[in-house]
Symmetry: C2
């Protein structure tokens, strides 16, 4: 018997269809409180959440993120931003000179944001809500930043739809543990055999899910993805003051 | 009444002193299974966990991460790596040519790793274990990578100590919600007043925790951090094949 929390974690599946029932304010505040309690590098807490309730902005964000209708329709849509601006404002109260924007503090801010968002996702799921992360927010990060008034040293890492699920998709099988967990050193052979095994698992899963129509292995879908690398992200981030060194 | 999972999330505090009791293998496997079920960008699952059980490697990692003894002493020490190597091996089965290593897929891999690690942290805490993230693993990432045999397109994002807590620290107060949650657009004034309010909270917390010896606000400790930016990370990551574009 595992604790309830383990069940919540293992039952995660992305939800892309929501009931219109709103999330009550106290529940959303608790979800954000849970997000804030995540680990944070040296207590820097380098993340900011924009709760987009304005319907015009929602519509615009849905378009900018690749026409994903559920961004417009879900009860709550959050944009999770990595934020070195707040940290810099705080430091400036006692420090003359500029923040050196490095790859290191880019990592710190991105990781802080992800840890907090994942706590929010789990808190929401424990309350019976569903979520989906929206990487598509990085399709047009310049326009998204302008729309949300993000200052320099802040960037949108991902969006998150949240609400009561109106669908019950299957949980998707993950890579075999041998391919992602190694003891003492990286095991390239275990990775290779893990990919092979997982290709079979995913082909089976896709066939079942599509009633025989989709016959695709994991590695095939990875190869298909390789041409969509959002090449603009480096220039965009440097324009926002990140990755200077 | 909130679900048990919310309590687990809100009770997080970093643990730096552990009992020697081992974590049973089935519990560790379940923790990793929970990690794997986290959201992942397009099912890429760009992370790898190295479980460092070898005592010599532990000792070395503790030195390389800034002489943190608990890295050597904790029952389980995991190194969480962002991994584009596995994805590339899979894609290569069907795709001629090189992976373009971009800022975008660096973000994908770093975020995938953080989401999975946070699931592991929460799973562990729900089982009564404590954890602490070790950003110090990035003090000497080249040496850490060599020690763990990490191939190119893999980098150590952070370590994680795990085990039965042998201390009961207070949870540390977080920024007021007004400073991290905004509606529809970024609110710089709320950030400023939030910093001011939080400075008072943290000064009080530090005074209480140190029995009157530490009189430091949050912004003061942020200013003190600004000189330690691990400037090597950019060059290191490029040498490992990341951030080429």
């Amino acid at each position: 018997m595992w604790p309830e929390t383990i069940d919540v974690l293992l039952n995660h599946r992305s939800i892309r269809k929501f009931k219109s029932t709103p999330i009550p304010q106290p529940a959303l505040a608790k979800i954000i409180e849970a997000a804030q309690q995540a680990s944070t590098s040296s207590s820097m807490q380098c993340f900011t959440v924009i709760n987009v309730s304005d319907q015009d902005k929602r519509k615009k964000l849905a378009e900018l993120s690749g026409n994903q209708a559920y961004i417009e329709e879900c009860p709550v849509f959050l944009v999770w931003c990595a934020d070195l601006y707040r940290y810099e404002q705080a430091a400036k109260l006692h420090y003359e000179g500029e923040l050196t924007s490095t790859v290191e503090n880019f990592i710190v801010a991105t990781v802080d944001t992800a840890l907090a968002a994942q706590n929010a996702a789990i808190a929401a799921e424990s309350l019976g809500y569903g979520i989906v992360y929206i990487g598509g927010i990085r399709n047009n990060p310049q326009e998204v930043s302008a729309l949300l008034g993000l200052p320099s040293h802040v960037y949108p890492v991902f969006g998150m739809c949240m609400g009561e699920p109106d669908q019950a998709p299957l949980t998707r099988p993950r890579l075999p543990q041998q391919a992602i967990l190694h003891e003492n050193s990286y095991d390239q052979e275990a990775v290779e055999s893990g990919i092979q095994q997982y290709d079979g698992t995913i082909r089976q899963y896709m066939l079942e899910r599509s009633e025989g129509k989709l016959n695709t292995s994991w590695s095939e879908s990875m190869a298909a993805k390789i041409n969509h690398p959002r090449l603009h992200m480096g220039d965009f981030l440097r324009s926002k003051g990140f990755l200077q060194k």
